[in-house]
C-alpha cells in the first residue's frame, strides 16, 4: 500500500536557524509530493510542492528536496521565525487526485 511517514514527531529550533523536516514514502508511483503547514485550529495550508521528476524546488524561504533513490523528502525552512511554529505534513499523490498524508512533525521555534 501507499504510505507517507515522518522520521521525527517534534522539532525544536532557535529563531533564525534553519529547520529541516524529513519524510519517507513507500509508493514509488507517487506523481507529486506536497508540504502542508497546519496552525492550531486551522486547516492545512499549502507550502510547496514538487513533481516526482524533480529533485529540488525552491520557494520563499523554503526548499523541498526529493531523493527518489531512498524515497525521502525534506522541507528546509531558512531563518526560521516564530510564525513558522506549526505542524508540518508531507503528502504524496498520484493521478486520480488521491492524496495521502504523513504523520506530521510539530515545529517549535524558540525565541
Amino acid at each position: 500500500g501507499e504510505s507517507v511517514g515522518l522520521h521525527l514527531p517534534t522539532l525544536s529550533v532557535q529563531e533564525g536557524d534553519n529547520s529541516i523536516i524529513n519524510c519517507a514514502y513507500s509508493n514509488s508511483a507517487s506523481d507529486y509530493f506536497i508540504w502542508y503547514k497546519q496552525e492550531s485550529g486551522k486547516g492545512p495550508q499549502f507550502i510547496i510542492d514538487i513533481r516526482s521528476n524533480m529533485d529540488k524546488r525552491q520557494g520563499q524561504r523554503v526548499t523541498v528536496l526529493l531523493n527518489k533513490t531512498v524515497k525521502h523528502l525534506s522541507l528546509q525552512i531558512a531563518a526560521t521565525q516564530p510564525g513558522d511554529s506549526a505542524v508540518y505534513f508531507c503528502a504524496g499523490g498520484t493521478g486520480g487526485f488521491k492524496t495521502i498524508f504523513g504523520a506530521g512533525t510539530r515545529l517549535f521555534v524558540k525565541a
Partner: protein
C-alpha cells in the same frame, strides 16, 4: 485559490446522535474531499464527492456511517451517523486546485466534533 467555509466549526454531541457538517466553496469545483483528523494525528481521507454521482469512500469508511451529499458544484455535506466517542475528530472539507504544478488542496477550517 479557493475559500472554503465549514459549519459548524465545533460541536459537542451525545452518543448515538448524528450531525451534518456543511461545506461551502466560493467557486465551482468538480471534486470535493472529506478528511478526518483524529486528535494529534494526521489526515485520513474519508471520501471523494463528485457532483452528480455517488461519493467514493476509502477503505474503512462506509456510506451508512458517513453519508455525503453533493447537490451542486459549490456545496457538500458530510453526516456522521450514530456517533460514538471514537468519532471525536476534526472533519475537514477540501478541494483541489490544478492551477499549480500539482494537485494542491485547499482546506476549510475544519469542524471539531466531541462525542460524549
Amino acid at each position: 485559490s479557493a475559500v472554503i467555509s465549514q459549519k459548524p466549526s465545533r460541536d459537542i454531541c451525545q452518543r448515538g446522535t448524528s450531525l451534518t457538517i456543511q461545506c461551502q466553496v466560493d467557486s465551482q469545483v468538480t471534486m470535493m474531499f472529506w478528511y478526518r483528523q483524529q486528535p494529534g494525528q494526521s489526515l485520513t481521507l474519508i471520501a471523494t464527492a463528485n457532483q452528480g454521482s455517488e461519493a467514493t469512500y476509502e477503505s474503512g469508511f462506509v456510506i451508512d456511517k458517513f453519508p455525503i451529499s453533493r447537490p451542486n458544484l459549490t456545496f457538500s455535506t458530510l453526516t456522521v451517523s450514530n456517533m460514538s466517542p471514537e468519532d471525536s475528530s476534526i472533519y475537514l472539507c477540501s478541494v483541489e486546485d490544478h492551477g499549480g504544478v500539482t494537485g494542491e488542496l485547499f482546506f476549510g477550517e475544519g469542524s471539531r466534533l466531541t462525542v460524549l
